[in-house]
């Protein structure tokens, strides 16, 4: 445990969790609403609620997985560095990576474009990892944004838990 808290401040883990949950849930919910008209063609109300419940449960599961992967990466890096930089760097990297993946999904680039764009993305991510630790304002900004996102994200998590209950009820 001592090693763990050598790497991470509790508050940082919390804020990172908020950022993970927010990014993943926003995309999942946007797509969920996109799917609803097609689902309404043939689902009953209960089936629709069930489908939405599964969606939120999967989003919660994805949040936990991504969060644990980030924490695992943080444990590999030197404790002194992660303690002060882990949260802001992870936050910005996660945000940029999310935007990149979404753009790739939506715009669907051709293979040769993908390779070039992939290379550019990697460069951007590396630069971010190098630049963010140098400026404390960036870290403050990340924490500030995360704090503001907390109530909304808490609502998403509550909906996830409601979804989990619905999924359990549907499978019992």
């Amino acid at each position: 445990m001592g090693t763990f808290y050598k790497h991470f401040a509790k508050q940082d883990l919390f804020h990172l969790g908020v950022v993970c949950a927010f990014l993943i849930h926003v995309w999942a919910i946007i797509n969920m609403f996109h799917d609803i008209p097609a689902m309404l063609l043939y689902m009953t109300r209960n089936e629709l609620i069930g489908s939405l419940a599964y969606n939120m449960l999967f989003a919660l599961f994805e949040t936990i997985i991504v969060f644990l992967i980030l924490v695992a990466l943080g444990l590999i890096l030197p404790g002194r560095w992660t303690r002060s930089n882990f949260f802001p760097v992870s936050c910005y990297l996660l945000g940029e990576l999310t935007i990149m993946i979404i753009l790739f999904k939506i715009l669907g680039f051709r293979p040769y474009s993908r390779a070039l764009l992939g290379g550019i993305c990697i460069v951007v991510l590396i630069l971010t990892a190098m630049v963010v630790p140098k400026y404390s304002k960036m870290s403050e900004l990340a924490r500030s944004v995360s704090t503001r996102l907390t109530p909304l994200t808490a609502m998403y998590v509550l909906i996830d838990l409601a979804g989990a209950i619905i999924v359990i009820a549907r499978n019992v």
């Binding site: 063609l41 599964y54 994805e62 499978n171």
Partner: protein, 511 residues
């Protein structure tokens, strides 16, 4: 009385000898539990198998020689049609004996109306003491089977037969499979529009690719075009056929068993010995584009896909031949009605590939049907117009059971005592853009009567409602639209079709 370990081991060695006495398993050969009134019923479905690509039906490529061997002891239906052009619709019509506008399983992940949970082949045969079994590679069929699950005695999960299964729903959420599977598909699968997942979809894809590559490398020599499978499962047909052979003597007899195999549905992955066997100069007739043609398709690529599809059919045929030989050697045919068919066909023309789209041309709706009765040793050929809604009433008739009034199909010739009507109309419906419980406003509906086929398009955006009429006898390739030329036939058929649509829409109209 206490039994010590030594005595227990002595006694347990006698168990195999005692098995026939306790009736624990069914003996090979004719079962004492079947009778002429209660033969076993085995329905074998191969997904997306078009009659137009089968050598038995005149296709010039020798795709199914083993099916021809089975045909020597079966009734072969030469003008048999699925009521829909994708799995859910076609399968629901087979299992309920009703048309899509009645059972309403008209969407990809759709299920029938609740009334049909107890109005289907499983419920019909269950009341006569049949053991009812169901299995499918195709998870869309599993959605239907789960819908009927209360009526199924022995349901086999696809993952029980698959080599690998990356699906979560059939492992974790089996009680709610239909909704769970759709949700899983939306969340994790790459599709248009994009999946609901940002990261997990990528991790899932990477794991699938990695494991698929490991398995693929092992099987690469056997399957150079790729490992058979779909919907995140690896399902070599050999394993499934082996499983069927085993189950034929494990199912309590008499059994009613519906078995739905994925091949030759894409991806087309024939076994090595079938690769390039149809590399020839043959080119099918090039047909005109349609409003629903795909701009990304051209005839050259369709010809290549068709060739590989034919190879895949040959692989299917080889495995079916193996099953057929097994059934011959073990006297399965003595007390079993065996049905071979498909849920829908596949298109490789008019720059349209596949199935499930808004068109209902012959390749995607004309499917094989062969029925072999117990102890049948000769072939019969039927050229009358038949539909897959006829399979269920025919089976009930053959087993001496009454046919419920909710069934829309007819008893097939030559089994019907009454004269089979030559002016019978059959229907095919594609309506997956409609609400399940509302009138069919956006649909393609086809009607075949005698030699003529009328196709009606309605409600599509940017495509004017209209009709096409073809004489299938003189123009089997559907090249000449006779709608304005044969106004007499067109008008009569149009009136009948529109009246039928009106009749079927009536229960779903709200005042």
């Amino acid at each position: 009385m206490k039994i010590n370990r030594r005595n227990f081991l002595k006694l347990s060695s006698l168990i195999p000898l005692a098995t026939p006495l306790i009736g624990a398993s069914n003996p090979i050969g004719p079962s004492h539990k079947t009778s002429p009134e209660t033969p076993n019923i085995l329905i074998v479905i191969f997904d997306a198998l078009s009659a137009r690509n089968i050598s038995l039906y005149g296709y010039h490529r020798a795709t199914m020689p083993n099916l021809a061997r089975f045909a020597e002891r079966a009734t072969v239906y030469h003008n048999h049609y699925s009521a829909g052009n994708f799995t859910t619709v076609g399968t629901a019509s087979i299992l309920t004996g009703t048309y899509p506008w009645t059972h309403r399983a008209i969407h990809i992940y759709g299920t029938t109306l609740d009334a049909y949970r107890s109005r289907n082949a499983y419920s019909a045969f269950g009341q006569y003491g049949y053991t009812r079994a169901g299995f499918s590679h195709n998870l869309l069929v599993d959605v239907l089977l789960h819908h009927f699950i209360d009526q199924i005695d022995e349901y086999t999960h696809p993952h029980d037969v698959a080599m690998m299964d990356f699906n979560i729903s059939d492992n974790l959420f089996n009680s709610d499979f239909g909704i769970a599977y759709q949700s899983e598909n939306r969340y994790f699968m790459n599709r248009t529009p994009p999946s609901n997942s940002i990261y997990l979809h990528r991790i899932h894809s990477a794991l699938r690719a990695l494991i698929g590559r490991i398995v693929g490398d092992r099987l690469k020599q056997s399957f150079p075009r790729g490992i058979p499978g779909n919907q995140d499962m690896i399902t070599p047909l050999e394993d499934t056929v082996d499983w069927i052979m085993k189950k034929l003597f494990q199912w309590q007899q008499p059994f009613f068993s519906y078995l739905h195999m994925m091949p030759p549905h894409d991806p087309y992955c024939p076994r090595a010995e079938f690769v390039d066997i149809f590399w020839d100069d043959w080119k099918p007739i090039e047909k005109p584009d349609h409003f629903f043609s795909d701009d990304n398709e051209d005839q050259r690529s369709l010809n290549l896909k068709r060739m590989i599809y034919d190879e895949y059919i040959a692989y299917v045929d080889a495995e079916f031949g193996r099953l057929h030989d097994f059934m011959v050697e073990n006297d399965v045919y003595k007390n079993t009605i065996v049905i071979f068919s498909s849920d829908h066909g596949e298109m490789f023309e008019r720059r349209i590939w596949g199935h499930g789209g808004p068109t209902l041309y012959e390749p995607v709706i004309r499917v094989p049907l062969l029925i072999s009765l117990p102890d049948q040793t000769s072939r019969h050929d039927v050229y009358a117009l038949t539909s897959n809604v006829d399979i269920l009433p025919t089976l009930l008739h053959l087993t001496g059971k009454s046919i419920p009034t909710w069934i829309e199909g007819s008893v097939l010739p030559p089994y019907t005592e009454q004269e089979y009507p030559s002016d019978r109309s059959i229907f095919m419906i594609q309506a997956n853009r409609n609400y399940k419980l509302k009138p069919l406003l956006i649909a393609t509906i086809a009607m075949i009567k005698g030699d003529y086929k009328l196709i009606h398009y309605r409600g599509y955006k940017d495509f004017e409602d209209g009709f096409e009429l073809y004489n299938l006898k003189e123009d089997p390739e559907e090249l000449q639209n006779l709608y304005s030329i044969r106004a007499d036939i067109a008008t009569a058929m149009k009136q009948e079709l529109l009246a039928k649509i009106e009749e079927k829409d009536a229960p779903f109209k709200q005042d």
